[in-house]
Amino acid sequence: MAVKKFVVGNFDDEAVLFPAVKKVRRAGYKIHDVFTPFPIHGLDKAMGLRDTSLHTAGFIYGISGTATAVGFITWALTVDWQINFGGKPFFSLPAWIPVTFELTVLFAAVGMVLTFCYLCQLAPFVKKDHFNPRSTDDTFVMALECTDKTNEEEAISFLTTVGAKEVKVEYKETEWWLGRYDKDKKLFHKEN
């Protein structure tokens, strides 16, 4: 559990948000995250996030599906229990292509979705805070993490000048939790 302090700017247009992200970063503020109602292409680059490796994971899962299918069928039909199907060779690879292909796709898809859920920490019953419920509707929310050195007043006025419609200081739990979140037992101390 880690409750932190944030300066939160709400934008209503992604065309304003884009240059704002760049200016905020150039000014040296640390962007905790930007929450958007839909994917904005290039925003990850603008925020300096590295590319995801999910594709690579998918490739590895796919290959392991291929290997599982070929390996298992070969073992089952040529080693464990040989059956003569119409005089064809026991090792009849062309006939195994369909099952091999399906398992490749199945492993890749299931593996990737599970990895995606793990990386993003998504699961049924999991709860997370995303600052503004309108951020899944029409608001683009930029959260700046406050450190000891951050001058809040300055950050607020800076966000306003780069185009934020509404700027607030908020204390938020950044990790996921299950069940109710008890406000009274919050594990943080207000500095001011």
């Binding site: 994917p39 990850d44 089952a76 199945l106 990737m112 979705v113 998504l122 019953f125 999991v126 951020s135």
Partner: protein, 484 residues
């Protein structure tokens, strides 16, 4: 107003009306948040009634065996496998729209993809029922899985197309479900954050998996969608190819042909689009989503129908040519006597198929017809009747007269329980669809917002002034602030 993207005025808008993001959310969430209409209840209860009829029919079959159906020696598959192939085929349009059109960057898919994907999942669920209950002794259904057993272990036959089907259909269902649900997560989060009632907050809270809309999550989500689309594309082609192998790898005259895989895939997309039209023409009206599923969408899908219908037509003619060209008397008998000859016992079904699948869609060469909702709805039903008869023709006319003419007198008609089983899958399909349209947004919210500023009517009109600007002016006014 600064613009991030620009599209020519030549292309029709994909979202009608002047809307902002919030309006889009309101429009699409309204049917979910409002109380269900009387019409919804009527439709839902009819579907449930059909489903119950189906359950009774299947129960009869389980208790008394497949003898409850009028299958006989030589016609072992009958209505059952006809329905199986028909439902699987219908599912294909959803994956085509969600995956293949994503790879081809077809913007119009955003209006219809969510509902079409849902249709895919429900159609595959219906399809799966048929081979399972057709087994007769359904309690042994797990024999199709390669599990260690005490009979050797005797493994399943990996060289058999029927086993390939098991893997193809189950993989197809799983991957479609994952693709659909991962796409739904952001939209469920929208519903969660809008929820007022306690149960709704809880329900959508659980369903949305704690989605926040973080930029990093979106980046991964985009990567996931793209790869799943890339996987689903060959997958959907493989599924109907493998279904066609059930026939094509046999040596039955009328089935033993190499044209089956492409011909089945084209037919699947054809019938699937017809089902999408049937559902969406009604859905857009009942849920007042005409601004999102526009005439433009209907028009484009009708173009796909006339294209795939004509491909299917070419395949029918090619089959006829090949049976003549083969100079095999059995092949010729199957095609020219059992199918083409109108006075043969099942000749009527062949010509019904030809009329519905090949001739009638040609009406869609006319723009006016493509944009007429009544014609579209009527045609979508006609096409699905035609595509059902295509599978019926393939299955029944190829085997009802085998090499033993004394057995020819048996004319196959279904019993009430066979019909009931089929009706029951309609019940299952529409029950699921009604529940889906009530509890989930039928249009991909986030994706519509993503294209809104490029394809929305209100934003496209603003682009008029841009057409006159020079590149320098445009870059100066609307650039991303690269220089600063």
């Amino acid at each position: 107003m600064a613009l991030l993207r620009y599209e020519s005025q030549v292309r029709a808008p994909l979202v009608d009306g002047t809307k902002d993001y919030h309006q889009v959310t309101e429009d699409i969430c309204r049917p979910v948040e409002a109380r269900p209409s009387k019409l919804w209840w009527v439709g839902f209860l009819i579907s449930v009634a059909l489903l119950i009829f189906g359950i009774v029919s299947v129960t009869m079959e389980v208790i008394y065996g497949t003898g409850q159906w009028n299958l006989n020696k030589t016609i072992g598959w009958g209505w059952d496998i006809t329905n199986f192939v028909w439902w699987v085929g219908i599912g294909h349009a959803g994956t085509l729209i969600s995956a293949i059109l994503l790879l081809f960057r077809q913007g119009w898919r955003t209006g219809v993809n969510r509902a079409a994907e849902a249709m895919t999942i429900f159609a595959v669920m219906c399809a799966g029922q048929f081979p399972i209950w057709h087994m007769g002794r359904v309690w042994n259904a797990f024999f199709v899985l390669p599990y260690p057993n005490t009979r050797g272990p005797l493994w399943v036959n990996f060289n058999s197309p029927l086993l390939w089907d098991v893997f193809a259909i189950s993989t197809y269902f799983t991957v479609s479900l994952l693709f659909w649900y991962s796409g739904l997560l952001p939209d469920l989060a929208t519903l969660r954050d809008r929820a007022k009632e306690k149960w709704r907050k809880h329900f959508y809270g659980v369903a949305a998996f704690g989605w926040t809309g973080s930029t990093k999550h979106w980046q991964r989500h985009e990567a996931l969608s793209l790869v799943l689309a890339g996987l689903s594309t060959p997958l959907v082609l493989s599924v109907h190819t493998i279904v066609s192998f059930d026939f094509a790898t046999s040596v039955v005259p009328g089935w033993h042909t190499t044209i089956f895989p492409p011909y089945f895939v084209a037919g699947a997309i054809f019938s699937g689009f017809a089902m999408v039209q049937t559902l969406l023409v009604v859905t857009r009206k009942v849920l007042a989503l005409e601004d999102y599923i526009t005439l433009e969408h209907i028009d484009v899908m009708n173009k796909v129908i006339v294209l795939t219908g004509s491909i299917v037509g070419i395949a029918y003619l090619t089959e006829l040519f090949m049976s003549w060209y083969s100079a095999v008397s059995y092949e010729e008998f199957a095609f020219f006597e059992n199918r083409l000859n109108l006075s043969s016992p099942y000749g009527w079904s062949y010509w019904l198929m030809m009329g519905c699948n090949v001739l009638s869609p040609q009406i869609f060469w006319f723009r006016k017809m493509r944009r007429n909702l009544f014609v579209t709805f009527f045609m979508s039903i006609l096409v699905n009747i035609g595509m059902w008869f295509e599978r019926f023709v393939i299955i029944v006319t190829s085997v009802y007269r085998d090499y033993l003419p004394s057995a020819w007198s048996t004319y196959y008609t279904p019993t009430i329980w066979e019909v009931g089983f089929y009706m029951g899958t309609f019940g299952l399909f529409f029950t699921c669809y009604f529940l889906f349209s009530k509890f989930f947004p039928v249009i991909a919210l986030a994706e519509i917002k993503h294209i809104l500023k490029k394809n929305g009517e209100g934003f496209k009109n603003n682009m008029d002034e841009l057409e006159g600007e020079s590149t320098d002016e445009f870059g100066h006014k609307h650039g991303h602030d690269h220089g600063a």
